[in-house]
Amino acid sequence: MTFTHLHVSTAFSAHYGVSWPDELAQAAVSEGATALACTDRDGLYGTVKHLKACMSAGIEPIVGVDLAVFDDDGDHRTQVSGRVVVLAHGHNNGAGYRALCRLVSDAHARTSGKAGGTIPVAVTRAELASRVLDPTTLKPVLTVLLGPDSDVGRAMGGRRYLRPRTLFKRWIDAMPPRSLVAEVVSQLSVPGQPMSTAQAVRMLRLAEEHNIPAILSNAVRYCLEDGAATADVLDSARTLKSLPELSAEPVLAPNGQAWLKPPALMRELAKEIISAAGYGTADLKQILAQTEALADRCRMDPVTDMGWKQPVVPEASVLRIDQEPFLELRQRCEAGIGRRFPGISGKAEVQMRQRLGHELKIIGDLGFSSYFLTVAEVSRMILDMGVRAAARGSGASSLVNYLIDISQVNPLQHDLIFERFLSGDRATLPDIDIDVESAERHNVYRRIFDRFGPERVTLMSMQNGYRARGAVRDAGMALGMDTDDVGQIAKQLWRFSARNFREALVEKPELREFAGRVEQRYYSENQQLDMLVDLTERLDRLPRHISMHPCGVILGDATLLDRTPVQPSGLGLPMSQFDKHDMDPMGMLKLDVLGVRMQSAMAFALREVIRIHPGKAEVVAAGRHPAGPDGRGPDYIAPDGSIDLNAVPLDDEPTFELIRSTHTLGCFQIESPGQRELIGKMAPRDFNDLIIDISLFRPGPMKSDMVRPFLEYRHGFAPEVYPHPDLKSVLEETHGVTVFHEQILKTFNIMTDCGLARADEFRRALGNETEEWKVEKFFRENAKEYPQEVVDKVWGTLKAFGSFGFCKAHGAAFAVPTYQSAWLKTHHPEAFLAGLWEHDPGMYPKRLLVAEARRLGIPILPLDINRSQSEYRVERVEDGPDRGKLGIRLSLNGIFGLSGAELKRLVAGQPYDSLADLRARARITKPSIRRLAQLGAFDSLHRGSGGAANRADLIQHLQNLQNATSSRKGTEVVEGQLSLPLGDVELRNIKPGLPEPTLVDSVRAELDLMAVDASGHLMESHRPLLDRLGVTTADKLLTLRNGTEVLVAGVRVATQTPPMRGGRRVVFISIDDGTGCVDSVFFHEAQEQAGPLLFGTRLLLIRGTTRRTGPRGISLSASMAWDLSQLETLPFPGSEPAGPDVPHPLDGISRNLAITGLGG
């Protein structure tokens, strides 16, 4: 006997379902099932995974949804009467699936897409009724299941005995004939309660009475009974109430029986219900037969019903093509040759044409021409918007992409292989990723919607699963633990999976204290901690919610919304319920349009360069650019001073000097502590070196120790070794070390003559447990011409590096913005840093980049009510010691408490001649005015007024005004001052008396209100203390010998735990002391010593020994760390007492993330 479960929530029913589609399908098939349904709540979130799981388990998928229905009698916008399950009928060329998609989209259409929206995800009964019928055949293509959670089921427990019947009849009246079934569920709860046999009997009798078929289900939430506890915790997370609270209400599930029961148990259940109803064997047979009949009607054909793996692209007419897409593509490539390869001839042309023919043949054979034309259309549209864009990823391997302007990298020049991108052996749509300015990303999305029409475009979503911190918080809440206690624990959880929580307790020094508390379980609190660990592990990875994917846009034809349900994203634009893993199976064309802050920063810098300099001559002079062909500067600078960054040659020597200096903070891809170390060792000389550098700095190569031999060969410390002379041409550029995927492909091809397309398939199989041995077998059998030891050696390399080596095309695509950012930092550092501050693209807190400006001697111009704008600005300094230099004026944006509207009014009303003027026209709140004063924004106005008071007096004056009245807006004006050019009477008349604020006071205000120390470095005030401790500054480290023991101190700017060789964790902590960065590494011993300081401290004192990493690189191997703010613990030399503490800028400032880059 088989039984088909028709009501099953997977883990993708966020905060409700427990088990993954795979587990469910496997469990079902092991009990002899031939089909299984997936009916997630509110959407088809798990549907595609379910399809995959069923196909690999060899059973047929059934798809549906569990949806809330609005109460016809209640307020239509907010009141829900219950939930129903809706199943799509199959084998009707997608009519059922189409209706299901549209219905799910209907349910979300009124929601806001924002967290905390008040409108629930639900459909009206009228919508349900209209979607049930196929619009062309007018036959039902959906079946609605009325179960225990429907309004009918919910009324069973009420006192109004006739109520369920009334509600049931309403459904019958409202729905088309043969579209309703009664879902009979008994989870064997206490007799008479919801989900009890007694209530199942009532539902069965109602169905019988009205001649509606009844089916049996178990309303499954988990695969096995074990999942019930997890379901309880999810109920708690969903309702935001603790388990004790929920059980008191009582709204928890009545028991733990919502599991995928095997057929025998389901039959027992049916028997029990039938006999309790007083029915006979015929009725037992009937309910089981009806269940299977419905299951049969709903079996889906993934191919004909759901379009499994059939790519769909926009119609030719939308692309404005009136000929065969392939011909169009070929013509556009031809047209591109003249542009990309002007004057090409001879052997080069033959080579290029051969390559083009090869690529076009593969694209044509796969029928992907429209795909390329679509991407080209999007690409052209973005460039026409004037937005910086760059293709990234393996798309750079394609000459076609280069010719039709999708990519800016010439694959022939960098020897990139097309098969790495697309081959005849792989029929899935390739990925093409486009990086655009982050600030323009949403505009780009909107343009794509406009251009292709909202019926053909939707954003892609992503699943956000539980990670350790979120899991421990929600587990703690479920147990009713104190929020702060749980928060303390959560803070210490640093990047490991919640599933290994118990393991981590043993291993990680920062969890030691917590582990101790778990161990001594002699009283109840610790018992609870033990439970906390178990529940945290249970939540691990379970989906919490979907959100807009950071870059995915799905493009299709006019039927797109028949194939994916959509819901509003936070951005307002519709978002598919499918994520990136669902794209290929569903034949969806996904374009990654990624917002890259560095592109925005560079665009900003280029605009600043034009704004500051009147023309080309000034730009050339300021940037010390070469004289160019006519002596008036290079061609990439236009007469108006605008720079065509993409046209800047990739061989600028000063740029490479900057890179080699390792002062690369702010440069794309090469600013991290690890990269600065690698750059220092490698000393890149040309663009190809940058590609190699970026490709080497990946987890794989770092982990497998590829970097050290590479550097030894490169610097000639050791002779280069090639496994065989045949491979020299392949491995020469990386001195015999295999770095790129492209090299792996060529190695396979040279040694086995397998062709590049197959070689790429082999590469993909490397590291795959079930596939790799086949590749090895093939390799060994076909590399017969080579001696055994060569084959062994090469196979060892392929096996080790194949799965994680880097695609050179990626590296090349990345290296372009890397070079461009370094070029800007070299030639126009003020504009570039202003761009960085404005768009904050890097891995560091912004304050470090402000410190970098200070290190470079760029004046940081204070906030000024009349000069500061809503953006950072480059400005020529008018007086003082820096007169004539370019400085960067701080921005009014991002000041704590200053609202967007205030900012807008403030900037629109500039300049102001008095505080009264400011109050009258900009309508700034009193607290904001006081904060502006604290930041010195009125200092020049104040000086101009001729008053004798200082900033402290002004702040006090404003504080008094603020206390005096409770009015929020400062619109009231001292009489006689409005708009009269009298200067500021108010400022002039402020009574002097208070001492001038100290530098520490000013810096503290800046950190507090802007998270940036602008007037001086925040470590400055620690200097006397540091001198007594004998601390070495960052700029002096390079003068020390390797292995010198030193003390260093500074504010934390980066904390990283990259994967390392051997699996032991290494913690990198970088601190900034005002003279530069000190990068320190904590190995196992040092982590033990530092314990909770590792992740919990802002100001660190570190003892360690210097490690020379290259001619310009030095780092520290730490042995011990202290919290600089805990004076009594510091290692003062001799028996010197700690001495009294002095005020420091960070005193009393609680914001962490913005200052140290470490949240918590």
Binding site: L224, T230, P244, N255, G256, L479, M531, D534, E537
Partner: protein, 115 residues
């Protein structure tokens, strides 16, 4: 109604339904169809661990309500005179992992003196 937790030996049918039980040294037989349900526990208070894969019986326990009558004594005096020996309604709980039974509640007015 009283709350108990003493061990009971239960003989079941092949389908797992209680048939006879031995409790406090006496034998009883079921005199009506039993009713079975699963009842929630406050597992987060009652247990100290809830590791993944712990199996059934954490969140709820299986309860059987049985109506029994003491078997006709063979060579031993019945606890009560036959005229007052009426049926007892008992709630039994079956421990999921061990399969052992315990008495959870006794309904009805009459209780044996030993309890």
């Amino acid at each position: 109604m009283g709350m108990f937790s003493e061990s009971v030996d239960v003989d079941c049918t092949t389908a797992g339904q209680p048939l006879r039980l031995r409790w406090a040294g006496r034998d009883y037989s079921l005199c009506a169809d039993p009713v079975r349900w699963y009842e929630r526990r406050q597992w987060w208070v009652e247990e100290s661990r809830a590791p993944l894969g712990r199996g059934p019986g954490l969140v709820d326990h299986e309860i059987w309500r049985v109506q029994v009558r003491e078997d006709t004594p063979t060579g031993r005096k019945p606890a009560l005179q036959p005229e007052v020996q009426e049926s007892l309604t008992l709630d039994l709980v079956r421990h999921a992992a061990s399969g052992r039974w315990r008495l959870l509640r006794i309904h009805d007015a009459l209780r044996p003196q030993s309890a």
